[in-house]
């Protein structure tokens, strides 16, 4: 070491080449599946912070949000990730749907426009990721095109995907239905809102994205 110092050798560049890149993990899913609720849960547990606001009105998240360097510990091993909370993916956006939540026409049209931009942003982020947590509403039919598209993308790129079957606090939820639809991917039944099984999710995150 002394010789290296004396010779003035600096191995920073070498470290940079061999340093493991921090995995970028996107939280994906259809609108109102609980993506931001889950992102908030993860950030609160590990950074004490929150990602964004949540609402029962679809497309509350209309811009992707990124949090860098979130370290998750499980059983003595730690994994540090960049987490991207993405806007809900959709193939249709009708401003009338927002009016049903009490918004006026102008407000609804603006939200619809922003939501379309958010969907484009979410799709573009798919090219930048190392893995995905796909949040599905366990009370809904799992064979939606959004789910099929996200899973198809990850499989085509051979990137890891973890399914969070959310809303198991609701009586009509059925994580088993999701598992039978996509048995090839690991699944954790959770309630992001109430924190049920969240430790199991952290274990799977550490295992699959570490």
């Amino acid at each position: 070491m002394g010789i290296i110092k004396r010779l003035g050798l600096n191995f920073t560049w070498l470290k940079r080449i061999f340093k493991k890149k921090r995995a970028r993990i996107g939280i994906y899913g259809p609108p109102n599946a609980g993506k931001t609720t889950l992102a908030n849960r993860i950030l609160r547990d590990w950074t004490g912070d929150a990602m964004g606001s949540v609402s029962n009105v679809p497309h509350e998240t209309r811009r992707a949000r990124r949090r860098e360097g979130v370290t998750i510990n499980y059983n003595g091993s730690a994994v540090t990730l960049d987490i991207i909370d993405t806007p809900g993916l959709a193939t249709k956006i009708d401003f009338h749907d927002f009016m049903a939540f009490g918004m006026n026409e102008e407000e609804s049209k603006r939200r619809a426009k922003e939501a379309t931009e958010g969907v484009i942003e979410a799709v573009k982020w798919l090219d930048e990721l190392d893995g995905v947590i796909l949040v599905m509403d366990a009370t809904e039919d799992p064979y939606t095109q959004v789910n099929v598209t996200v899973i198809g993308n990850m499989e085509a790129r051979k990137l890891p995907l973890l399914i969070a079957a959310n809303k198991i606090d609701l009586p009509n939820s059925s994580p088993a239905r999701i598992h039978s639809a996509f048995p090839q991917h690991p699944l954790v039944p959770i309630s992001a809102l109430e924190g049920q099984n969240i430790d199991l999710l952290y274990r799977e995150i550490a295992e699959h994205f570490g």
Binding site: T91, K92, I93, D94, A112, V123, Q145, G152, A156, A181
Partner: protein, 119 residues
């Protein structure tokens, strides 16, 4: 006779088209009120392109987007494909129509049930 036009597009025709040609064809036809049935579905990257372009064309009181349903992709796990690192995903039948006219009632691994209405 009044009705809704249903176009069934063969795998051969789709194979002869570029990704952008497929996406453009789908959006143009769907915007004209047609329902399309693709014998072979779109690749994941084509689906992404279709979603992106659809979002750019959504306009209030004119076009609210598309309804698209396909079966989950199949894995073609034969030995030669694996050996040569070929893409082993096989896309499957896909139905696409205007969101205002096509509504999926039920979908599972082997059945897509949809309702088509007049504009």
């Amino acid at each position: 006779m009044k009705g809704i036009q249903l176009d069934l597009i063969s795998e051969d025709k789709l194979d002869g088209m570029t990704s952008m040609e497929k996406v453009r064809l789908i959006l143009d036809e769907v915007r004209n009120g047609k329902i399309l049935v693709l014998e072979k579905g779109l690749t994941p990257s084509e689906q992404n392109k279709l979603i992106e372009l659809t979002m750019t064309e959504i306009a209030p009181d004119d076009f609210s987007g598309i309804e698209i349903e396909s079966y989950p992709v199949k894995h073609n796990d034969n030995f030669l494909n694996k050996l040569f690192g070929k893409n082993t995903l096989k896309t499957r039948l896909t139905v696409i129509g205007p969101a205002a006219q096509l509504k999926t009632i039920k979908k599972d691994r082997d059945l897509i049930s949809a309702l088509v209405s007049t504009p």
